[in-house]
């Protein structure tokens, strides 16, 4: 399977995503430049973390107008997998490929820390390697990660199984105390209605090696491989 990792000028987790899918999963991956329009035949696209265009206006607000994003949208509309991590999630929301928005953390501070996530879904494309209710340990690193949407949208997301991860404690309890950024209903990651576009604030690409503290992110990529074919 061929992965494409988009590099905006301010992306800074692009190299980490490339390493995760090549070194840990043994897949082919290429870097896709934000000004290009050629997806180079990639099966899966990753919008990585970072600060796409500086993000002084609003995280991801300018990235949606970039040439590569027009191709990313077409790819998503074809039903092919698109993963937005952190800033990538923000860009997917700004591009209306996912509902809702990411606002400044409730505590107003940037947070880099390990958090626990409860697996929901079903979202088989990304979660088949996990079981529902499984608790994952995966890092976050963001200043604008508070997911918000109006109640109707949140209800819809929940009813259609589009909520894939919620912040929880070590035992899997979802609570305000376990919610690092004040996200609505503790939501850490969602998919679109079709289930092929995934956005999440936590960094699965940082949780693929025991040397670095966790391998809980691996199964997300492995689920994709199993569904899409290696």
């Amino acid at each position: 399977m061929k992965f494409g990792v988009v590099t905006f000028p301010g992306s800074n987790c692009d190299v980490d995503a490339l390493h995760a899918v090549t070194d840990q999963l043994g897949q082919t991956a290429v870097s896709l430049w934000h000004r290009d329009r050629d997806l180079q035949g990639c099966d899966v696209l990753i919008l990585p973390g970072g600060f796409s265009y500086g993000d002084a206006l609003r995280a991801g607000a300018i990235a949606r107008f970039s040439p590569i994003m027009q191709e990313v949208k077409a790819h998503a509309e074809r039903g092919a997998p698109v993963i937005g991590i952190c800033n990538g999630f923000q860009i997917l929301c700004e591009s209306h490929l996912l509902p809702g928005a990411l606002m400044r953390n409730a505590g107003l501070k940037f947070i880099c820390d390990w958090v626990y996530l409860k697996v929901e879904g079903p979202a088989p494309l990304y979660l088949s390697g996990y079981h529902t209710g499984q608790v994952l340990r995966i890092p976050i690193a963001h200043g604008e990660g508070r997911f918000v949407a109006d109640d109707a949208v949140l209800d819809g997301l929940e009813h259609s199984g589009q909520v894939v991860f919620r912040y929880c404690d070590e035992e899997g309890n979802v609570s305000d105390d376990a919610n690092p950024n004040g996200a609505a209903r503790g939501i850490a990651g969602i998919t679109n209605a079709a289930g092929n576009v995934l956005g999440m604030m936590p960094h699965p690409e940082r949780a693929v090696e025991s040397l670095l503290g966790s391998t809980d992110g691996l199964a997300l990529f492995e689920s994709l491989l199993a569904r899409v074919g290696a």
Binding site: P9, G10, S11, N12, C13, V15, D16, H19, A20, G49, G50, F51, Y53, G54, D55, A56, K109, F110, I111, C112, D113, P139, A141, G143, E170, H203, E205, R206, E209, L211, L212
Partner: protein, 761 residues
């Protein structure tokens, strides 16, 4: 080559040179005489500005250079020593590490957010202009007491500034050190260290070469911000400094990220010969230093420099410290290729000058010469001073006081109370409130991030090696005894690095002192540097560069003398990475080194009694070297489960820290350190040097290995499954559950900062 000086005229509208104007530029009458001799005429206003910047303490090291020259700088693996943007060492397999630490104290004192942010930006540029990709940042911070709202405001701003800049550019902030003392009340210290990685053959220097090669200004446009920042950093802080806030630059990490990527691509492309950050004193300093290193002349045309504002004078363009700008010497005929790379990253580049054979530093404004200095004498003939040095009688008196004579407070009958006092001292307490605001993991190579070990550990991807990184300086020691304190700063950094399994390789230093014209301050500076030199020689860790920050004074006095050490160690095998917390109940606890009766200069005296007195603990540098070797040998056997250096707060604090690695899964400890030769207080809280706590399931192996290196090692107790800490010290027993200790240790800084939030709400 002989040369005929150009005719240099004052520009219309420039102020007339008067003694008052000269003084305002921080140039002494003696230095002005020297300048007249150099030029053979009166300087223009533009020239006066240039000299003011280049001869400022910040750029010229005019008070510090002779002392700095005594530091050891050589080792077979040193690829680049002091004098460049950053030092570089080889770490084997063709890989090299560039690293440097730098201060941004003065700007942070008046505008903490931008001051700290631009400090991070500056040190990043110093590293990537060597051709290295930045892979880790550390910072060493000093603040006054968190009890005052202003200090809380300063710390909030500094931490946010460091975080926002580093987080955006995508370089992990992996460690550092923070200390609080009223000595830093009006004058916080913000020292940032950057570490970069490159192939050895990618090393590039900032040396202008090749007659006819074009000089390019790259990056952000030049504005009126930060004019005279270098001179500002070279004077004492005062109330008036609030008015100097405009001298603080504004940072843009996004542009920096573009500059970083573009610079590395430019360096690898082979189209350029040299590259340098336009840092302190901006275009003036970068161009003059590049010319001096290359022993060539340069001509700069200020009308070609891209500017942000209309009507900027040559004086302003030359002295602006607008951020995120670089000076590049391209190969002649390769300008377009270089510009194409920069355009890819949306960066502007303009040819603003040329390397010339004529040995002059010349600035033109179109056809008019506005400044010209002969050869590189502007840099090389900077005045140097050997100020008077004399130890302060007041400090001698403080050092002479007997710490054992200090009467215990009534509460100290409960040793657990004292331990909680120490654990909640912000200098010792957990720093998560700070480091949680830093992305410590981006680049996915952080094996040990902040708080988990005595030093940070960053793997070298593609190899089986890792770097151990640490900043350190107990400035209370340096204040009471600068020679000993300077030695300890290096020795403790080395111990920390060794505790993680790293062999200490080299250091960079950031020397934060007061006004060198005061004999008491210059004494501290000279002795501390000599102490560092002693330790660097003994431990085999050369100094590859650094930064001097003087005039850290305000009307209340000077800061504690703070020679911050930034140490780089090499872990040969990633399997040897060792953390500080106990891992397994039932393990033996082994003390390497010996307890002594020393209690002077301790955090205990400062925190519990408000005293900075007594003799500084004696550091035996030969012992420290043996200790490092013994520890590394023991770790290499695989028998060491954890290793933690004893420092502020002594044995009791170190044991408590080892128990509290994971607040949700704490392990207890029970030890007996009874001896007739030491007082209880010294045993529990004394800061005797050369000690490390190790936990192991194979104590005989550890004892054997350590003793073979000539280091004392004693099994003092056991790691326990119950959450209690029990220390038997002669007649006195400290026996406490861990929970109250953890509350003191983990909640101290958040609780203080919460007060800040409420105060400003």
């Amino acid at each position: 080559m002989s040369t005929t000086p150009s005719v240099v005229h004052a520009r219309p509208g420039d102020p007339v040179i008067t003694p008052a104007l000269v003084a305002e530029h921080g140039i002494t009458p003696f230095e002005y005489e020297k300048l007249l001799g150099l030029l053979g005429r009166e300087p223009t206003f533009t020239e006066l500005g240039i000299v003011s910047a280049l001869w400022s303490e910040h750029c010229s090291y005019k008070h510090s250079r002779p002392v700095l020259k005594t530091l050891p700088t050589q080792a077979p693996y040193v690829l680049q020593g002091p004098g460049e943007n950053a030092g570089v060492i080889s770490v084997g397999d063709g890989w090299a590490v560039a690293f440097k630490i730098e201060s941004h104290n003065h700007p942070s004192a008046v505008e903490p957010y931008q001051g700290a942010a631009t400090g991070v930006g500056g040190i990043l540029r110093d590293v990537f202009t060597m051709g290295a990709r930045p892979i880790a940042m550390l910072n060493s911070l000093r603040f006054g007491s968190l009890d005052t709202p202003r200090v809380r405001w300063l710390m909030s701003g500094v931490v946010k500034g460091i975080g926002d800049y580093g987080n955006c550019i995508g370089v992990p902030t992996v460690g550092g050190d923070v200390m609080f003392d009223p000595a830093y009340e009006g004058n916080p210290l913000v020292n940032a260290m950057c570490v970069g990685l490159m192939r050895e053959d990618e090393l590039i220097t900032a040396k202008a070469e090749g007659i006819g090669n074009p000089i390019l200004a790259v990056g952000a446009r030049t504005g009126r911000d930060g004019i005279h920042g270098a001179s500002f950093a070279s004077e004492d802080l005062s109330e008036e400094n609030e008015a100097k806030r405009p001298r603080v630059q504004v940072g843009d990490p996004f542009t920096e990220k573009l500059l970083l990527e573009a610079s590395l691509e430019l360096i690898r492309s082979g189209h350029i010969v040299a590259i340098q950050d336009m840092g302190a004193a901006g275009l003036t300093s970068s161009s003059a230093e590049m010319a001096e290193r290359g022993d060539v002349g340069v001509v700069i045309d200020v009308t070609k420099v891209p500017v942000r504002e209309e009507g900027m004078t040559p004086y302003e363009i030359l002295l602006s410290e607008s951020q995120e700008r670089m000076l590049v010497v391209a190969k002649r005929g390769h300008e377009e290729e270089a510009k194409a790379i920069l355009r890819k990253w949306d960066l502007q580049a303009e040819v603003i000058g040329e390397v010339i054979a004529e040995p002059v530093y010349r600035v033109v404004e179109g056809d008019r010469v506005v400044a010209e200095f002969p050869g590189s004498r502007l840099v090389t003939e900077c005045p140097q001073y050997a100020p008077e040095a004399r130890e302060s009688d007041a400090i001698i008196a403080l050092r002479s006081r007997e710490p054992h004579a200090v009467v215990e407070r009534a509460e100290e009958a409960d040793t657990a109370w004292t331990l909680r006092q120490l654990l909640s001292s912000p200098t010792i307490a957990n720093k998560r409130w700070i480091y949680r605001q830093y992305d410590s993991q981006v680049r996915t190579s952080t094996v040990v991030g902040p708080g988990a070990a005595d030093a940070a550990v960053v793997r070298l991807r593609g190899t089986n090696k890792a770097l151990a990184l640490k900043t350190d300086c107990n400035s209370r020691y340096v204040y009471l005894d600068p020679r000993m304190g300077g030695r300890i700063a290096v020795a403790e950094a080395a111990r920390n690095v060794a505790c993680t399994g790293g062999r200490p390789m080299a250091i960079t230093n950031c020397l934060n002192f007061g006004n060198p014209k005061k004999p008491e301050v210059f004494f501290q500076f000279r002795e501390a540097v000599h102490g560092m030199g002693d330790a660097c020689r003994a431990l085999g860790t050369p100094v590859t560069g650094g930064n001097v920050s003087l005039y850290n004074e305000n009307p209340q006095g000077a800061v504690f003398p703070t020679p911050t050490i930034g140490m780089v160690g090499l872990i040969d095998d990633i399997a040897h990475v060792t953390r500080s917390a106990f891992t397994t109940a039932g393990d033996s606890i082994v003390l390497l080194g010996e307890n002594t009766d020393e209690l002077g200069a301790s955090e205990y005296l400062a925190r519990v009694h408000g005293l900075t007195i007594g003799a500084v603990p004696v550091v035996d540098l030969d012992h420290e070297k043996r200790l490092v070797d013994a520890l590394l040998a023991a770790i290499a056997t695989g028998a060491v489960h954890s290793a933690h250096d004893l420092s502020e707060g002594g044995l009791a604090v170190a044991l408590a820290e080892c128990c509290m690695g994971d607040r949700d899964a704490m392990l207890g400890a029970s030890v007996d350190v009874s001896t007739r030769t030491c007082s209880t207080r010294a045993l529990l809280w004394g800061e005797a040097q050369g000690r490390v706590l190790v936990s192991t399931s194979r104590p005989e192996d550890v004892l054997g290995t350590v003793k073979a290196h000539g280091v004392t090692a004693t099994v003092i107790g056991t790691v326990t499954a119950d959450a209690r800490l029990v220390i038997t010290a002669g007649a006195r027993i400290l026996d406490t559950p861990l929970m109250p200790l953890a509350n003191a240790y983990f909640d101290a800084i958040p609780a203080l900062m919460q007060r800040a939030a409420m105060a400003t709400a």
